[in-house]
């Protein structure tokens, strides 16, 4: 019997060490069965510890989870994943240039969002985290709108009130992104409960990272989804890292995150998150299950955060620089490209051409977005907007404060002061 000591989760590799992904439990493509959507929750226990994969190492689509998509659908998937990456890379660069104050890439996780968006209906409501921009792109949010939000400029959909990447769109059914982790999860469940209460067959889907499963909201969401059999899909994007914290600290040691589902009484699927077809198929299965009234599904999407946490982060401080190259599930774009080529419906040349086209497009949109201003250089929206929408109607104390601020700005202009609050 060992003398008592505090166990702390092992981290496979730190800077300077060899990447080691032996802890990632894999399964061959096509190995997992695809049960009917009305399967009993406890019968999904094995799937929650397994790994749903469709694309094999040769780029073939195999097994019962192959959604059998058309070439057109596949090319759309490839295009929108690539667009997401091109967009991310460009925005990251502009942040470096100081044009935007903050950015979060989804590099390496594009399939998680794009495939899910494609598998859901337009009326289904999405509750994204800050790393699901693929949802917005796949739902057709104009890049210019996203850029203007990032620039906090005169066309910022958030009226200058939100950090970059906190997009929203009621018409596109993309919920407002919160800076507080996981809060959208029980909200997604409540939204789904409301759909059921109203007798509508819309489904809600929420996304959080594996680190965020530690939050109370994860528990509340799973519990309410179970108790009321809510038509909701709860996605956990296990990209192995939460800023500097390895997934073991969120409870990932020897246990999948998907297993939390059956534990509480919600179906669970562990899915290859870098496999567009697997993500699509799992999402479609869960949506069908939810729509048919069989309740929620917890989907763990196994992927890897290929980039930094955000533009404020430097991962070389806490993990090996080249870890991503050793990641066993590869790159989602490369894998779908390979599949399309294997099907004889794509080529390196067409891929290069597509990349060039998308880069051009993003560059064009960026120019146009800049025309609406940028936080640093301006023009900016009227600061008085900060007092709007705190309440539906502005109460007297905010009216008074707005007037005070207007007077302050007038004085500042008078004193020729900069937009800095100092008036110096």
């Amino acid at each position: 019997m060992s003398t008592p000591h505090l166990h702390v989760p092992a981290v496979p590799a730190r800077p300077g060490e060899q990447p080691d992904f032996s802890y990632v439990r894999l399964a061959p493509a096509g190995a997992e069965p695809r049960p009917p959507v009305d399967v009993a929750v406890h019968e999904t226990a094995a799937l929650a510890e397994g790994l749903v994969r469709v694309l094999d190492d040769e780029g073939r689509a195999v097994g019962p989870w192959d959604p059998g998509l058309t070439s057109e659908a596949l090319q759309r998937g490839l295009r929108e994943m690539l667009l997401t990456r091109v967009f991310d890379d460009r925005m990251q660069r502009t942040q470096r240039q100081g044009r935007i104050s903050f950015y979060v890439r989804s590099y390496g996780e594009e399939a998680v969002s794009v495939a899910a968006a494609h598998a859901l209906r337009p009326r289904d409501m999405l509750f994204p985290s800050y790393r699901n921009q693929g949802l917005h792109i796949a739902r057709g949010m104009p890049l210019i709108d996203m850029m203007c939000q990032l620039l906090s400029n005169t066309r910022d959909m958030c009226k200058g009130r939100q950090l970059p990447v906190m997009y929203h769109s009621a018409p596109l059914r993309l919920f407002s992104i919160s800076g507080n982790l996981a809060t959208q999860y029980p909200q997604a469940v409540g939204w789904a409960m409301a759909a059921a209460i109203k007798g509508e067959d819309d489904v809600a889907a929420g996304w959080i990272g594996e680190g965020s499963t530690a939050a109370a909201d994860f528990h509340h969401a799973l519990l309410f989804a179970k108790v009321y059999r809510a038509p909701v899909i709860l996605n956990v994007v296990n990209n192995q890292w939460a800023i500097s914290t390895f997934q073991g600290y969120a409870g990932g040691e020897q246990r999948s995150f998907a297993a939390r589902g059956p534990g509480v009484g919600v179906a669970g699927l562990r899915v290859d998150g870098n496999d567009y077809l697997a993500v699509y198929a799992a999402t479609a299965w869960a949506a069908e299950r939810a729509r048919a009234g069989h309740g929620a599904t917890l989907i763990e999407l196994v992927t890897y955060r290929a980039g930094a946490h955000s533009t404020s982060d430097d991962p070389s401080r806490y993990r090996p620089k080249d870890e991503y190259h050793a990641w066993p599930l590869g790159d989602p774009i490369e894998r779908l490209k390979r599949h399309l080529i294997a099907r004889g419906e794509w080529s390196e040349a067409r891929h290069a051409a597509l990349a060039a086209e998308l880069e051009g497009m993003v560059g064009e949109d960026w120019k146009q977005a800049l025309a609406f201003g940028a936080l640093a250089e301006g023009p900016r929206l009227d600061p008085a907007l900060m007092f709007g929408d705190v309440f539906k109607e502005m109460p007297p104390h905010l009216e008074a404060q707005r007037a005070e601020m207007e007077a302050e700005l007038a004085a500042r202009r008078g004193s020729g002061g900069a937009g800095d609050g100092s008036g110096a």
Binding site: A196, Y228, D389, F391
Partner: protein, 339 residues
């Protein structure tokens, strides 16, 4: 008009709104089949169904999180938190989400959630069934905060809260659920029957949020208070035969400072009274903003009477509770105050 106690008035408000608006739903612990530990939702599940009057798990954070999602999907949820002492697990969803959603999404997403919760002591509930946490909500930008002191206001304000497109935290001073309370626990408890504010219309009406009420007009001094303490203050002033004007704040956010200031400008003296602990409480905001508005008319400093800055002690409830004697002593001192 019918005689209703505050619980009946609240029940009637929810009944009226469930009937009028199919998007209204109730959710909370023990509120459905059982009708709530204070019976505020009695009979409503039978009448409107288990899908509209929803028994919930014991997870205040989950209740509010789910209610927000329901609100976003077009419903008007009324969540009950069984005791205000148990609202803290929901604090993050209220402060970070419910209060911020309209703002951060520039009105594209909103959740018209009402959160009802019984507060206050004087029922031998000890420190976890007696708290008055309105102060930690009033400081949060983006939520309205309300506390009625009688059945008429309770029904009218609750209907206004449910119809309000902004989130409202609705505090119910449970000591006056069954009758007004003048601060004397040894007297046989009064009933609302016969009290003018216990006469309540059966049907729909509302009391606008954002307006204080003059609970007792007077000239000598202004007492600014709310909830249970309205009745204690009226009794204390009567004890002294003092012509005090008792202002019932009713709406903590937005605050009707004009009505408060008008009264203080008239009387020149002001006592702020609440049951919540004193330090950093809502009374500090009342004192500070009245002082800012009325400084030059003040003939004496604004004083506060409140619960002591300790947890609510079970055995010493009536030494803790800011009763008539404490209010009286403060009034006497205030009336005598001079440079």
């Amino acid at each position: 008009m019918t005689a209703m106690n505050m619980v009946q008035a609240l029940n009637s408000a929810m009944d009226v709104m469930l009937a009028r608006d199919p998007s209204v739903v109730l959710i909370g612990e023990d509120i459905g089949y059982f009708g709530g530990v204070f019976r505020a939702t009695e009979g409503l599940q039978r009448k409107y169904g288990a899908h509209r009057v929803i028994d919930s798990p014991i997870a205040e954070g989950g209740i509010v999180g789910a209610a927000i999602g329901m609100g976003v999907n077009g419903l008007r949820p009324v969540a009950e938190i069984q005791f205000a002492d148990y609202i803290y697990p929901a604090y993050d969803q209220i402060v970070s989400e419910l209060a911020r959603l309209r703002y951060r999404s520039a009105t594209e997403f909103t959740a018209p959630v009402t959160i009802r919760t019984p507060c206050g002591g004087g029922i031998r509930g000890g420190q976890t069934h007696s708290q008055s946490p309105e102060g930690v909500f009033a400081h949060v930008s983006g939520i309205k905060v309300v506390m009625p002191s009688n059945p008429y206001d309770a029904k009218g304000l609750l209907i206004a809260a449910i119809e309000d497109d902004d989130p409202v935290v609705f505090f119910e001073p449970k000591r006056v659920y069954n009758g007004p309370f003048d601060g004397d626990p040894d007297k046989p408890s009064e009933s609302w029957a016969g009290h003018p504010m216990g006469e309540v219309p059966e049907g729909y009406y509302s009391v606008p949020i954002g307006q204080a009420a003059i609970a007792r007009p007077g000239e000598a001094v202004t007492i600014v208070t709310y909830g249970t303490m309205v009745h204690v203050c009226i009794a204390a002033a009567a004890d002294l035969g003092l012509d005090a004007e008792v202002v019932d704040v009713r709406s903590m956010v937005p605050l009707d400072i004009d009505t408060l200031a008008a009264s203080v400008e008239k009387t020149g003296r002001c006592l702020v009274v609440h049951e919540a602990t004193r330090f950093g409480g809502y009374g500090a905001e009342l004192s500070a903003s009245i002082q800012e508005r009325c400084f030059w008319c003040l003939e004496a400093p604004i004083r506060r009477v409140a619960g002591w800055d300790t947890p609510y002690p079970h055995a010493f409830e009536w030494e803790y509770f800011p009763g008539r004697l404490r209010v009286r002593r403060a009034l006497q001192a205030l009336m005598q105050e001079a440079p």
